[in-house]
Amino acid sequence: MRKLGLACLLAALCLGGGLGEASAQADDFSGLAGPQFEEMSASITALAAHGGPQGDAALQALEDRHLFSGADGALFIHDGAVCQNARTGEAASCPEDLKPVRLNNRIRTVLAGAHALRELSSAEPDVRLKAAQALYARHDMTMLPALEQAMSTEKVPRVHEKLMQAHAATVLAQAPAEGTQATRLKAVGYLAEVGGLEARGLLANVAASAVEAPEVRHAAQRAVSRIDWHLRVWSVLQNAFYGLSYGSVLLLAATGLAITFGVMGVINMAHGEMMMIGAYVTWLVQQGIRMTVPALEPIAILIAIPVAFVVCGGIGVVIERSLIRFLYGRPLETLLATWGLSLVLQQVIRSVFGPTNIAVQTPAWLSGSLMVGGLDITLNRLAILVFAGLVLAGLMFVLRRTTLGLQMRAVTQNRRMAALMGIRTPKVDALAFGLGAGLAGLAGVAVSQIDNVSPNLGQSYIIDSFMVVVFGGVGNLWGTLAAAMALGMGGKVLEPTIGAVSAKIAILVLVIVYIQRHPRGMFPVRGRGIES
């Protein structure tokens, strides 16, 4: 029933189109095959209105990029396996020299509108809800009759409400005409209730319009200032989330360094390169899984976590045994040696994988965002926030509750005494350095989801990592946590007001001033062994 009613309505929509169920005519399709975007747009509108099932199939194929044009305006749907004539739906043999039908943004917009219109008649309420949502964002006046028709038949309350919103938005998007004042006033009131950025855009347009009735204009102005006030309140929370999320990235990058530099006292300039290797491991794991077990691809990133930890940890142990152990107690030489090492590692990666960025895939479950009230929480950032918390908790557990942690703390506090108590200090050193490198590898996995993965990845994190560890207090994990969050929050609170460049400078100045006053950072470690 719904399908039939909508089809009739769509037919009526098309100006000058045939009444009733008109079958697709050859010229409805022909715009799709041509090079002109205007004709293509007209074709899509015509097909959406009265193209029948064949038109629907062609539009769907166009969206999926399965529509191809051949010689003489022939159109084919080719989804990799089956080939059919787009006009008739009959199976055909596709010619060799097919060209995919090109799209541009305007066509994509028209296509999305046509898609939403098709889905308004779906039997699934969720699909209809999505369609109504799309039409709300579109607010195209040609969709108005279809919306009214759908509203009159819609039974599910949440879909109906969304349709009402879409209707109000569409009404307001049109230029005001005689006698529409009451309808428009109602629409303004309705959108003011809905709120959000899209409603604000529409209302701002009405409020600034010169041809609008003064009454409607004033209502829109009031609505805009009300929405603005709401948005300001939410934006405080939003910035707090951005700060936490930025802080969690800093925290992840710094935890490894908190072990190698904070606990062991090794100035490890190659720390960023361990992160970089972690990110490359993520990519290798993804590639490997795609080639062997494609079914596991969505969770490749989870598999990469332990792999990156083990690989980077292993490299860390090798570095400690072959380089760092000869340099204990010589900080300047350590600094130079690890800096040199960082350049060597960069160049090795550059020679093996090339200097260009590599594309680490973000699985679908980590893409997009979650709306919580007026908060827009991006999933990858949320995942990193949780991951950083887990890594810190895990590290705390290792340091406080395991034999290795106990031995590490003993060795840092008094190496000679620990050795006399039977602790094999070289082994503890190697494992501690490996732990730090492994943590950097974990940070690399996380960073691969938000940043670009290239041989230079590490350089952009090393300064920030040192800053976090020093600012927080060398040797104190809680200090690292507090410093990461303070720097993250500070940066994100300052950024919208004074700009990203000035915010960065301001943060550095604040850190310098603070360190001058408190040379041991926010949470200094106290004890007898520290001075020596």
Binding site: F37, R65, R102, L103, N104, N105, R106, R108, T109, L197, E198, R200, G201, L202, A204, N205, V206, A208, L231, S235, Q238, Y242, S245, Y246, V249, L336, G340, L343, V344, Q347, R350, P355, T356, N357, A359, T362, S367, G368, S369, D376, T378, L379, N380, R381, I450, D451, N452, S454, P455, N456, Q459, S460, G491, K492, E495, P496, G499, A500, V501, K504
Partner: protein, 446 residues
């Protein structure tokens, strides 16, 4: 220190690579071509001044490779003036002062007849005094902010009126969505700042109000775009169609586009027009969330012409990487190198002054159709294309300028330079000639 080791051997490495690749190429082509006479005599040295390490290596390494390919090809065609060409590759390591040092070395020690190099404007500014002092020849292949016209530099990339202005015209037009509100987002250095200054004046002349223009700068390598993208989102809710013009440089683009995708901004809501994102940059990105985002260039790999197809084929054969992309600055080097070859042939010598004079008026077909001509202000005539990012990492051209656009060294949209032109022909022979007062602001070339 281990760092300097590769630098010391870089030149020899370059020669070795050149020799072996030339051998490989001539071997491959030998069967098809009637072999030209083997070039003899003192080699003509061609300097290549591109970063092979550091942050800019990602972009510049490709340009070094394309130069080696062009030189090898020229040698297989019999060299130049009957003499072989020899590439001298140096690595300025993305370090701006080192660019000047290496340029001095190329000109005074290696006696390079021409130098092809630089990417960032700051590196060009750093070598400019060296080229002017030693009277060298530099071919600069990257789109840039203009406002410069040196007798010793040939600007084979786009000036702002060959990229930024047509791109904004497209966004303002019906086909481009008819944007009425513009966010100019860029990295904080000379190219974005100058380009945005030009664009703000241009937009105002088109009737865009002050409150509808937002300018935002970020530091190099910005990786956390959360607040800026949400600012853009809020800016886009002003009730008018909004577009973003991005002069974000290099690596910062990947996290920027990722954040756009995650916050749900698609090209159909707020299109982003980028001036520094090409095929090479897209190679490191998952382009599905970016479909429909825009870029303005004078060359796209996806443009099908016989010359471009042949060039891409040769590039793949030369690099032995069948998927390696080509991009706009590579085409600029292709045009610049061939123009230089023509000019040297015309002058019959590699003498710098004679070649510089011979360069003006040289014509060389573009890879994408039309003919590039070297103008008196050392800029080229170029076609301008607007491309939309596709899900395969390529651009699909959606718009092009109806005719070739001649480059302007000095922007008419900046108050201080609106009366200036560059003309290195006699009798003006001046890089910044004021057409109103009829004077040359700097020293005239004798």
């Amino acid at each position: 220190m281990p760092v300097t080791m590769p630098n010391l051997s870089r030149r020899n490495f370059g020669r070795l690579a050149l020799a072996s690749s030339a051998a490989a190429l001539s071997g491959a082509l030998g069967a098809g071509y009637a072999r030209a006479a083997t070039p003899k005599g003192e080699p003509i040295k061609v300097g290549i001044l591109h970063s092979l390490s550091g942050t800019m290596a990602i972009s510049e390494t490709t340009l070094k490779d394309v130069m080696l390919m062009l030189i090898a090809e020229q040698n297989s065609k019999g060299g130049l003036l009957g003499r072989p060409l020899e590439a001298v590759v140096v690595d300025p390591a993305s370090n701006w002062p080192l660019f000047a040092e290496k340029a001095r070395q190329l000109l005074s020690v290696d006696k390079a007849s021409a130098v092809f190099g630089c990417w960032t404007s700051v590196s060009r500014k750093s070598v400019l005094p060296v080229f002017e002092e030693l009277n060298g020849i530099l071919f600069y292949p990257v789109q840039y902010e203009g406002q410069e016209c040196s007798r010793n530099i040939f600007y084979t990339g786009a000036a702002p009126n060959q990229q930024a202005i047509p791109a904004v015209d497209y966004l303002l037009s019906e086909a481009g969505g008819g944007a009425k509100r513009f966010a100019l987002v860029g990295t904080d250095y000379i190219y974005p700042r100058t380009t945005n200054q030009i664009l703000v004046n241009y937009l105002k002349s088109k009737g865009i109000a002050d409150e509808d223009i937002m300018v935002n700068y970020t530091p190099f390598g910005q990786s956390d775009w959360q607040t800026i993208v949400s600012q853009l989102k809020a800016f886009g809710s002003g009730g008018k169609k909004t577009a973003v013009v991005s002069t974000i440089n290099g690596d910062a683009n990947v996290p920027f586009y990722k954040e756009l995708g995650n916050q749900g901004i698609s090209a159909t809501d707020i299109p982003v027009m980028a001036f520094s994102v090409g095929e090479e940059e897209l190679a490191g990105m998952d382009t599905k969330p970016l479909v429909g985002q825009l870029a303005a260039w004078n060359y796209f790999e996806s443009i099908e012409t016989p010359a471009n197809t042949a060039f891409i084929k040769e590039w793949h054969a030369y690099t032995k990487q069948p998927k390696r992309t080509t991009n706009d600055p590579m085409e600029a080097h292709y045009i610049g190198f061939n123009m230089w070859v023509q000019a040297v042939t015309k002058a019959g010598t590699t003498d710098h002054d004679k070649v510089i004079d011979a360069m003006i008026g040289i014509r060389q077909p573009n890879l994408t159709g039309g003919i590039a001509e070297m103008l008196p202000d050392h800029h080229l005539t170029k076609p301008v294309f607007i491309g939309e990012i596709q899900d395969d990492g390529q651009f699909s051209v959606v718009w092009k300028t109806p005719a070739l656009v001649p480059g302007q060294a000095w922007s008419p949209w900046v108050a201080q330079t609106k009366d200036l032109i560059g003309d290195w022909r006699k009798p003006i022979a001046c890089g910044n000639y004021n057409t109103v007062t009829k004077t040359c602001l700097s020293r005239k070339h004798a």
